[in-house]
Amino acid sequence: MSVSEASGNTDDASKPADAPLIAFQGITKTYGQGQTAFLALRGVDLTIHAGEFLAIMGPSGSGKSTAMNILGCLDTPSAGAYLFQGAHVEHLDRNQRALLRRHYLGFVFQGFNLLARTSAQENVELPLLYRGEAPEKRHEAALAALALVGLSGWEHHTPAELSGGQQQRVAIARAIVTQPLVLLADEPTGNLDSKRSHEIMELLVRLNQEQQITVLMVTHEPDMAKYAYRNVHFVDGVVSSDSREEALPCS
């Protein structure tokens, strides 16, 4: 299934061949209505190309998570255009967005969000289950993904039997087991100590380089943002700065 199929856009000719992977054009997001309406995003323009490793930074409440949720098609913008691989996805309904997530996106959360009392392998297999993959293929892919995040031998442990760092690795394995185009991580190291945090970041860098997965990450820790090649700063619901690695001072 292609994105244009999911969006109902059959006019493929209109799609530029070298379209960026993701394009935000004047995205706004309003929470609530009337008097209590709150403008969390006030017109965000952002273009992300395949293969990028992007860190979104900014103070708390600046709209980072809101932007991530829209990027990840978990939510829809109030206004503006969102082009995914050149196709408009801002008006997709719930199920169309679910299909888009299922086929192109992988998620990693701050709180790991693994299924409790469920082995690492079963957790990793979950997205494949919804894709309707055959059991052997599921097992194979899950084992491979767990190996990729360095958890070979831990397949049958449940989250309760794993450390925070290991749980986040399982979550990453679950996110990449479907070989997504984009991995979205909202503060993936927020619940980890600094040593584990660096390990996770190194893993994300490796996945970005070796698996060509585009990584979008929210963090408020500059240390973690350094791993990314591009840093986008949010302030009060708008992008205040957008810098490439070359511009960052070397550490």
Partner: protein
């Protein structure tokens, strides 16, 4: 897809065995109660039918006194005589047999064995009225009946107790204070309904009984067997008129005898038991419904408890109907499994309870299937709302849920 949903649901059930068990408890009890009630009710109906049919078909029972049952209107009520039976036999049409009976009991002795049993003084018509057949030997001769000879026909139980392996025909049997010759053996009817052994009985000519036991001309009851397809109400009326006439009752006087129609009793009893069965079954069905509400309750709690999990599934790309189906199948699997456990429980308990109540255990596949189907339907009915709730959760909100 569907298989996937089943797989997901079963995984979830197994992950929470204790909660699953508590969830289905209501359904288990409900189904078990419905099936037990209906099965025992059917057994009781069957028992009544058996007992009535073992009395004989199209049977009327005449007793002195106005009311039914023991403690009738005292000794002043005139008893029947053999002549009454003869009058009925000769003056009322469409009858198969008319048997006057003198009921008694006595200790029987044969050789070194003794046994207490019921003694019925009556005529050969008793065999017709009671649907008895002879296994061996013969019925009474006209002479034996008229003159009250010391002969008897015994039931299978009496033979088994007193004569063991021997052939009883021609053997002497001491009945209380006199000795009589066994001339016939009744074919066994087996255990009657309500645990009554119908084969535990000795039949002697009625005049023998009157002379040797009661010492008077009285007859306890008169059994009247009608031909098939005869209108019993008409026969009852004719017999009633005849008896009033013979007892010289004036127009204003009430009957001092009563006539029972066994078929009518059977119908009345069966009807009453049927009503009771339906009532108890309905009460049990309400408990099944309550069990369904229990499932809904637990499923709702489960949805709230698993909000985060649902968020994960939705974020990963689960479609609304996939989540709905998962929870629905979970509910249906739970309630259907509860139904199965209930059926097993009922089938284990019923033979025991039937034995306790002395009614036959009548397995009714229909009520079992119905209960099972009903419990599964309850899963759909009460599982839908929680499933709907789960499926319509907002993934972002759900993921943020603590």
């Amino acid at each position: 897809m569907f298989l996937n949903a089943i797989l997901l649901a079963l995984r979830e059930i197994c992950r929470n065995l204790m909660r699953s068990f508590l969830t289905i408890l209501g359904i288990v009890i409900g189904v078990a109660a419905v099936i037990t009630m209906v099965t025992l009710g059917n057994g009781a109906t069957q028992a009544v039918a058996d007992q009535i049919s073992s009395l004989g078909s199209n049977l009327l029972i005449l007793r002195p006194g106005q009311r039914l049952g023991p403690g009738r209107d005292g000794v002043s009520v005139p008893r029947f005589r053999i002549a009454d039976a003869e009058a009925i036999s000769s003056q009322v049409a469409s009858l198969q047999a008319v048997a006057p009976v003198v009921n008694s009991g006595a200790t029987l002795v044969a050789g070194n064995e003794n046994w207490s049993s019921a003694i019925n003084g009556t005529t050969n018509d008793y065999l017709i009225a009671g649907n008895w057949t002879l296994a061996t030997g013969r019925a009474f001769s006209e002479d034996e009946e008229k003159l009250g000879r010391a002969v008897c026909i015994i039931g299978e139980t009496v033979r088994a107790k007193l004569f063991k392996g021997q052939d009883p025909i021609g053997s002497p049997l001491r009945v209380k204070n006199f000795s009589c010759e066994v001339i016939g053996l009744l074919a066994s009817k087996g255990q009657g309904a309500m645990g009554m052994d119908q084969d535990d009985m000795v039949i002697i000519p009625i005049r023998t009984a009157q002379r040797r036991f009661t010492g008077n001309q009285n007859v306890s009851t008169i059994l009247v067997s009608m031909k098939d397809g005869v209108d019993s109400a008409r026969v009852i009326e004719q017999i009633g008129d005849l008896m009033r006439e013979r007892r010289k009752l004036a127009d204003h006087e009430e009957d001092n005898f009563n006539i029972q129609d066994t078929k009518q009793i059977a119908q009345t009893l069966s009807g009453a038991i049927g009503t009771l069965t339906t009532m108890f079954g309905a009460v049990a069905a309400v408990s099944l419904l309550v069990g369904g509400i229990g499932i809904m309750n637990i499923m709702l709690v489960s949805v709230t408890e698993r909000t985060r999990e649902i968020g994960i599934r939705l974020a990963i790309g689960a479609l609304e109907h996939e989540v709905l189906l998962q929870f629905l199948i979970e509910a249906v699997a739970l309630s259907a499994f509860g139904g199965l456990v209930g059926i097993v429980l009922a089938l284990l308990a019923c033979p025991f309870l039937a034995d306790l109540m002395q009614v036959p255990f009548v397995f009714d596949p229909f009520i079992n299937l119905l209960s099972f189907g009903f419990s599964a339907a309850i899963g759909v009915l009460f599982g839908y709302m929680p499933a709907r709730k789960a499926a319509s959760l907002d993934p972002i909100e759900a993921l943020r849920h603590e």
